[in-house]
């Protein structure tokens, strides 16, 4: 049995990894909830968020945590474009077309990024990267604490937006009953764009945090995209609380697995969890029966 301080350390790592998953999963749930569209390229959007923050930071030197919001806006707009000219066109032609479209997008975004930026490994070194919180035998890097803090901030803002504003309420309505929302005078095309924009912005935030905490390259998106889907299935499709709990849980489970069994099994354990959920309760922890 490892020392208690090591365990707490891993717990913090798991929590921060979980925060990244939560941001990805909540964004995905937003898109899936409103549009019922499966976008496997969500991971590539996260990667774009990471690179956008990286390059802006490179050229301006502004605190990357502020740049994160710029990245969210830029990538959010990109998401809107993909929706408007890509997914909206295949809406209603069957899930398979959506899946193939996202596969094509993965290829384009990933390889375009490699072409433009090479597959070198990079990292954003935040101004806090060398600062740690010293609690006796326990050292927690500030970056991790900030990551958790920002995740909470973003989630709370999202919650307020969805419950207290007219537009937010319209989004929720559209995801609950598409036709009824139309009858309320909601322009569902606008809702589609908005959901893709917000979902992509959240992915960009996740990407920025990941870029600050770990080295990354254009291939970071593939696994992340799958993990995001795994999280929302485990948590229950369309359930934001489910996504939060499942995301944090996955981050913790993965990090403890790495510690005890080695890094190679990180993805396998997520997959095993997915299979278990699919066998026992496919609607996930908080999912609704259809």
């Amino acid at each position: 049995m490892a020392e208690i301080t090591t365990l707490i350390q891993i717990f913090i790592w798991g929590l921060t990894a979980g925060c990244i998953y939560v941001l990805m999963a909540v964004g995905l749930n937003m898109i899936f909830g409103v549009m019922k569209v499966v976008n496997f390229a969500h991971g590539e959007i996260m990667m774009l968020g990471a690179f956008t923050s990286f390059w802006v930071y490179n050229y301006t030197g502004i605190n990357p945590y502020f740049i994160m919001f710029i990245s969210m806006i830029v990538v959010g707009i990109f998401g809107v474009i993909i929706e408007r000219y890509g997914f909206r066109k295949v809406l209603g032609t069957g899930k398979l077309n959506e899946i193939f479209l996202s596969l094509g997008l993965i290829y384009i975004i990933q390889n375009l990024s490699v072409k433009l930026w090479t597959d070198d490994i990079r990292k954003i070194n935040s101004p806090f990267s060398s600062m740690t919180l010293d609690l006796g035998m326990l050292n927690i890097t500030y970056d991790r604490l900030i990551a958790i803090g920002f995740t909470a901030l973003i989630l709370i803002s999202l919650y307020l937006f969805l419950t207290k504003t007219d537009v937010g309420r319209a989004l929720r309505a559209t995801s609950q009953n598409h036709e009824a929302a139309m009858l309320m005078g909601v322009n569902v095309n606008h809702m589609y764009m908005l959901s893709f924009g917000i979902g992509s912005a959240l992915a960009a935030a996740a990407g920025t945090i990941a870029a600050i905490l770990t080295p990354f390259n254009p291939y970071m998106g593939t696994i992340s995209g799958i993990m995001a889907f795994t999280v929302i299935i485990i948590g229950g499709l369309g359930s934001i609380p489910g996504a939060i709990i499942a995301g944090l849980m996955l981050g913790l489970v993965q990090n403890f697995t790495i510690f005890y069994f080695g890094g190679a099994w990180k993805d396998a354990v997520a997959f095993v969890l997915l299979i278990i959920v699919l066998i026992i309760k496919p609607t996930g922890l908080f999912g609704e029966e259809h």
Binding site: V38, F40, G86, K89, V90, T93, K95, L96, N97, E98, I99, F100, L101, L103, G104, L105, I106, Y107, I108, I109, N111, L112, V114, K115, T222, I223, I226, F229, T230, I233, G262, A264, W265, D267, A268, A270, F271, L274, I275, L278, I279, P282
Partner: protein, 345 residues
């Protein structure tokens, strides 16, 4: 029936279109000496087999995004067996069967779920296969086995097929042996696809693909047919992988790459998903473009361009090239006065 009626009936039958191609296929290696060109043709045969297997699964409405997993399982299983002394026939068949069993397992998990779950599960499965192969001591020992290799590649003497199968003349160069091996395997696959699609099973597949609920109401056993599609599709994929491993001189976890999962998808969609000729046309076209771009040195760009092709196809040409080809053939045969009805293909 008079000769005229016979000609009219069969002149535009798809089988007749295949005959000249088959003849060309049979004599090609005797005519061409360029090894590189032959290799490209063999690869095309391989892709036709592999894409047809994916197409068959997609025909039943199930889209696998990780078909490379079955390719690799077939390849690894057969390689391990052959290295450790099994005959090539046993090795290849067992490899294919192993792939099929794994496919059945995944199929059972996903059969009651919405279609995109399958995409996710297969995609993830292919990715973790890499980890499993890399980390499992089982694999490492088995592959290192008789030939004492270090690391994760296994290799089989490519001469094995000609020798022990005994059907090829010993004068035939291994290059040509592989050519015919893949040629006949491909023809068998196309024939099998044709028979399945035109049969009661194929009809069930199509019904399930179009509207599962209605198919169930018509009395189709959804689970049974979906799983049948899985078993057949993954068997063929595993078979293709098992044949490919020795041809390629080695096998490693690269077999499970996203790229290998992507290729049958873009090939089938380009050709025409759900048609028999689709994977054939698609494999031909895409592989040609792919190899040509490779020759031009565009290693990253060609990946990008494939992605662009797929996206453009989904948006503007989702049924692939087959409908266009059918239109052209119909036009020609009408002009030639051979028939007044349209060819189904």
């Amino acid at each position: 029936m008079g000769v005229k009626e016979l000609v009219r009936k069969y002149a535009v039958s798809p089988f007749l279109a295949y005959i000249p191609l088959v003849i060309i296929g049979l004599i090609l290696p005797l005519a061409i000496t360029d090894d590189f060109f032959i290799r490209i043709i063999v690869l095309t045969f391989f892709y036709i087999m592999y894409s047809s297997s994916w197409n068959l699964l997609a025909y039943s409405g199930q889209a696998s995004l990780g078909h490379a997993a079955f390719l690799g399982i077939g390849g690894f299983a057969s390689t391990i067996l052959i290295i450790n002394g099994a005959s090539p026939v046993v090795g290849v068949l067992t490899g294919a069967l192993t792939a099929s069993l794994v496919g059945l397992f995944l199929g059972i998990i996903c059969v009651r779920l919405k279609e995109w779950f399958l995409g996710l599960v297969t995609f993830g499965f292919a990715i973790i296969m890499v980890a499993i192969v890399n980390e499992s001591s089982v694999f490492i020992e088995a592959l290192n086995g008789a030939l004492g290799f270090i690391g994760l590649s296994g290799s089989i003497d490519p001469h094995i097929f000609g020798g022990s199968l005994g059907i090829f003349s010993p004068d035939l160069v291994p290059r040509d042996q592989y050519y015919y091996l893949f040629f006949f395997a491909m023809m068998a696959t196309i024939l099998a696809t044709h028979l399945i699609i035109k049969s009661k099973i194929g009809f069930a597949f199509a019904a399930i693909r179009e509207n599962q609920i209605e198919a169930a109401m018509m009395g189709v056993d959804i689970t049974k047919y979906k799983l049948i599609a899985f078993i057949i599709s993954t068997f063929i994929a595993g078979f293709a992988g098992a044949l490919f491993a020795p041809y390629n001189y080695f096998i490693n976890p690269e077999m499970f790459s996203v790229h290998n999962s992507f290729m049958p998808i873009i090939m089938t969609i380009s050709g025409g998903i759900g048609t028999i000729g689709g994977p054939v046309i698609g494999a031909l076209t895409i592989n040609l473009i792919w190899e040509q771009m490779g020759l031009w040195g565009m290693s990253i760009d060609r990946l990008l361009i494939l992605g662009v092709i797929l996206v453009l196809e989904i948006l503007f040409l989702p049924k692939g090239l087959m409908p266009l080809i059918k239109k052209v053939i119909n036009r020609i045969s009408k002009v030639m006065g051979l028939t007044s009805r349209d060819m189904p293909l």
